[in-house]
């Protein structure tokens, strides 16, 4: 007997968990766009690459979480290579070049998606793990493990990143370069090196986000398209650069989508994040947590 | 006598940082006013509030007796407030002549825009460069273009924001010359500058800003000898 309270509680819990998974996908963009101000629209595509990486490694019997850990250094290097390509293409900086770099990443995201389609085919791919298939039952709430487990990734990553950005030397340097890279270079640190390092970290989070995605459900090469609106909505609303804010906003969006799905119809939920983004841009372009520009 | 510009109670904060205010300032018609003050004193913020690029948190701006506090920047520009930017912003991708056609597009009493543009270029000495891309100009030429473009809208008030930064002495004299001739034709000019000898030579009246407040006002001579101004620029003087 499912009462309306049951539906409500399940909608909220699903929303929280879904939001946490979205946060793990958005985290890399919070770093590149929020802190470095590089509009990396290819990030969702990189998350899909991460998902396929986990799938590929899974073919050799390695379960998703260890696969993601193996992927961390691989994707870190990939991120550094991407940044080098990007910075070499755009030596000078300026308003026009922000839009040019957007176009560059847009083209890149398409090339990545097509490359995946050509390499792996367009059918859905999924992974196996012991916990996938069963659920945790807490009173009226039923929580499938395939949602619960990936939902834990984001809080862990965010805590690790928060410690890193606030307690370590290089982490603080990353925050500094966002504010003033000339001052940073005067103090002896190479801003390009720091930015490349930050981009590497951001891309490393993509493999974790990808693992979360593929544990949650099967993926196909173009699944990144559906995440773009959500991911940017999260980063912009969290107020560029607020890493913990990313989780809070992501959960809010997750709950909103979950409610639309439960009480209206699931087919409207892809539009929710975008609608929220447009409203937020109209009302508060500096986001809920970030500093005014 | 109606003032050309009248600012009352202007205040502007960025988050917790109070950049400006409260400030009261008048500019008389045809006056040459100099604004000095250390970096970060709020001079450019003041200019942005006058031109409408920034909306002050409090206060009003009157132009020729009319309240323009709610007008958009382009509306204020068309009424007759012109400005040049600290770092020149030419319209890259357009020729020098075309740069002037842009403001002229919004002047309804001009019959031959190309002709007028050439006249303006001539008045600043840039007519030989009319067909050249604006991106190929030297520092001095860029600053002249900034001024010419500001003049195209037939302003009654011109705000020159550090129009002489980075120029040599002879180049500074050239720009001062242009500004003087302009003032003689009836335009009130606000000059924001760090180059002291230029400001002092040019201005009839000088005001000094520090940390968002107007701390001194008077003739060039009075300001030069003002102890508060000296303290702001040179720190405490231990000898007297």
């Amino acid at each position: 007997m499912t009462s309306s309270l049951d539906i409500f509680l399940n909608a909220i819990s699903t929303g929280v968990v879904l939001g946490s998974i979205y946060a793990s996908i958005a985290l890399g963009l919070a770093i590149t766009f929020g802190i470095l101000h590089i509009p990396n629209v290819a990030h969702p595509a990189l998350v899909i690459v991460g998902a396929y990486f986990v799938y590929l490694v899974g073919q050799w019997g390695i379960s998703p979480i260890p696969a993601a850990l193996i992927g961390l250094p691989v994707f870190y290097v990939l991120g550094m290579a991407l940044y080098s390509f990007y910075s070499r293409t755009f030596e000078r900086k300026g308003q026009a070049n922000v839009l040019q770099s957007l176009t560059l990443f847009f083209g890149l995201s398409l090339v990545i998606e097509i490359a995946i389609a050509l390499f792996f085919g367009s059918e859905l791919k999924s992974v196996d793990a012991d916990y996938v298939g069963s659920s945790l039952i807490l009173g009226p709430i039923t929580m499938p493990y395939r949602l619960l487990v990936p939902a834990l990734f984001a809080p862990i990553m965010i805590s690790a990143l928060w410690l890193y950005f606030n307690r370590t030397h290089s982490g603080t340097a990353i925050r500094a370069v966002a504010h003033d890279d000339r001052a940073l270079s005067i103090s002896g640190i190479n801003p390009t090196w720091i930015k490349r390092h930050a981009f590497g970290i951001a891309t490393a989070t993509a493999v974790v986000g990808g693992a979360a995605l593929i544990i949650m459900g099967p993926v196909e090469p173009f699944a990144g398209r559906f995440q773009i609106g959500r991911v940017f909505a999260i980063v912009v609303l969290a107020g560029m650069g607020s890493i913990p804010g990313t989780l809070v906003v992501a959960i809010m969006i997750g709950i909103a989508e979950s409610f639309v799905s439960a009480y209206l119809t699931p087919s409207w939920s892809p539009g929710v994040a975008f609608a929220i983004l447009l409203l937020a841009l109209g009302l508060r372009p500096q986001g809920l947590f970030g500093a005014a520009r | 006598m109606t003032t050309a510009l009248s600012l009352r109670n202007i205040e502007k904060s960025f988050g917790v940082f109070k950049a400006l205010g409260p400030v009261d300032l008048d500019l008389n018609p045809n006056e040459r006013l100099g604004i000095i003050g250390p970096n970060g004193a709020g001079k450019t913020t003041l200019i942005n509030c006058i031109t409408g690029v920034l909306k002050p948190d409090n206060g009003t701006v009157h132009f020729m007796g009319k309240d323009i506090s709610h007008l958009l920047p382009h509306e204020r520009a068309r009424l007759g407030i012109a400005r040049s930017f600290q770092i020149p912003r030419p319209f890259i991708g357009m020729s020098v002549l075309e740069n002037l056609l842009v403001p002229l597009d919004y002047k309804h009493n001009v019959h031959n825009k190309e002709q007028r543009a050439l006249e303006l270029l001539q008045s600043v000495g840039l007519h030989t460069r009319a067909q050249d891309p604006s991106g190929s100009l030297s520092q001095l030429e860029l600053r002249k273009l900034e001024l010419a473009r500001a003049l195209a809208s037939d302003p009654k008030v011109l705000i020159a924001d550090e129009a002489m930064a980075g120029l040599s002495d002879t180049e500074i004299d050239e720009v001062l010359d242009i500004l003087m001739k302009l003032n003689e034709s009836g335009v009130a000019i606000i000059m924001i500058e760090h180059i002291m000898h230029a400001v002092m030579r040019f201005s009839q009246r000088v005001v000094c800003f520090d940390t968002g407040q107007l701390i001194a006002a008077g003739t060039a001579n009075e300001i030069a000898n003002n102890e508060t101004v000296q303290k702001v620029y040179f720190g405490e003087q231990t000898h007297h």
Partner: protein, 316 residues
């Protein structure tokens, strides 16, 4: 200036005449099928460029506008039996409103946010089309258009002529904008928005005008599509290839002039027609993506820009 206008008008009339008499000379309908796609992309590229090239505001969601035009036109015919020209006007109006709304919501902040918002727009519109009753949902809907008029020589010849008229009209409008004070104001906005505003340019108004006109053209490009394929469904109407081509074609041809999108559209669309026949459609997208990246990185002013640089020689 006047002489150039005369030459352009003559050229336009010649093209339209050629399109009108083509069915009597060219008997193989394949050329009309392929030609339709190329001319359709001329409209798309031209429309995109009004905002992206002239004003510098990049729209990643051209497919949203195109797809909206497709569906409105199909719906107006299926539900009310309204003729194609009503569908074209309706699509243009819808595109203009959509563009205006997008612009109004996002242009008052930085241009980056406009671009990002356009990314999400495609998904949103696709979702709406999926869910609205009467549009066929995911399965799509068939459109059995009316019999084409006698003089046209056949259904595909007819829609080809229609899209040709739309293309000539859009290019003429883009050319007028470029040479007028509107185009000059947009170029100033693209170069330095603050300086433009302080020079008397009503930047927001001009940007909104560019948004509307661009949206209208993109949607108008989609209006004849249901009568070309006789079937509409969300995946092709909102296809990512459309959004990609909308950016790549003006970029390749040159964004600063009305001729650039035409050059880029002809080159890229022809290449893709050949490619889809010979290789796979995925490789096609890959090819366009790589070309886009190459041009953004190496030749951001497109082929026209390269030509200009060559002729200017050492006088840079």
């Amino acid at each position: 200036m006047k002489r150039n206008n005369l030459i352009f008008a003559l050229g336009a009339i010649l093209i339209l005449l050629a399109g009108f008499f083509a069915p009597s000379i060219v008997t193989n309908p394949f050329y009309f099928f392929a030609g339709y796609v190329i001319v359709q992309y001329i409209v798309i590229a031209t429309g995109w460029n009004v905002l992206g090239g002239y004003a510098g505001y990049i729209n990643f969601g051209a497919a949203a506008f195109f797809g909206s035009g497709v569906y409105l036109s199909a719906f107006l015919f299926n539900a009310f039996g309204l003729p194609l020209w009503v569908g074209i006007i309706g699509a243009a109006a819808l595109g203009a409103i959509l563009g205006l709304a997008m612009g109004y919501l996002t242009l008052q902040i930085q241009g980056v946010y406009f671009a990002i918002a356009t990314l999400g727009l495609v998904i949103v519109l696709e979702t709406i089309v999926h869910n609205l009753p009467g549009l066929g949902g995911a399965r799509g809907m068939a459109v059995y258009g009316p019999a084409p008029p006698e003089w046209s020589g056949g259904p595909v010849q007819y829609v080809f002529f229609v899209i040709l008229i739309i293309a000539v009209a859009c290019v003429a409008l883009a050319r007028w904008i470029e040479h007028s004070w509107v185009g000059r104001g947009l170029r100033a906005v693209r170069a330095s928005e603050d300086a433009a505003e302080c020079s008397g340019v009503p930047t927001l108004k001009l940007k909104l005008v560019a948004c509307s006109i661009s949206g209208a053209m993109l949607a108008a490009a989609g209006a004849p599509y249901p009568f070309y394929t006789n079937f509409v469904e969300p995946v092709t109407a909102f296809s990512l290839l459309i959004g990609l081509n909308a950016i790549a074609m003006p970029l390749i041809g040159g964004t600063r002039s009305w001729a650039g999108p035409i050059i880029g559209a002809i080159i890229l669309a022809s290449a893709q027609q050949i490619a889809t026949v010979t290789i796979s459609s995925e490789l096609n997208i890959l090819f366009v993506g790589v070309v886009l990246i190459a041009f953004v990185a190496l030749a951001p002013n497109g082929l026209l820009g390269l030509a200009k640089r060559k002729s200017a020689g050492t006088a840079q």
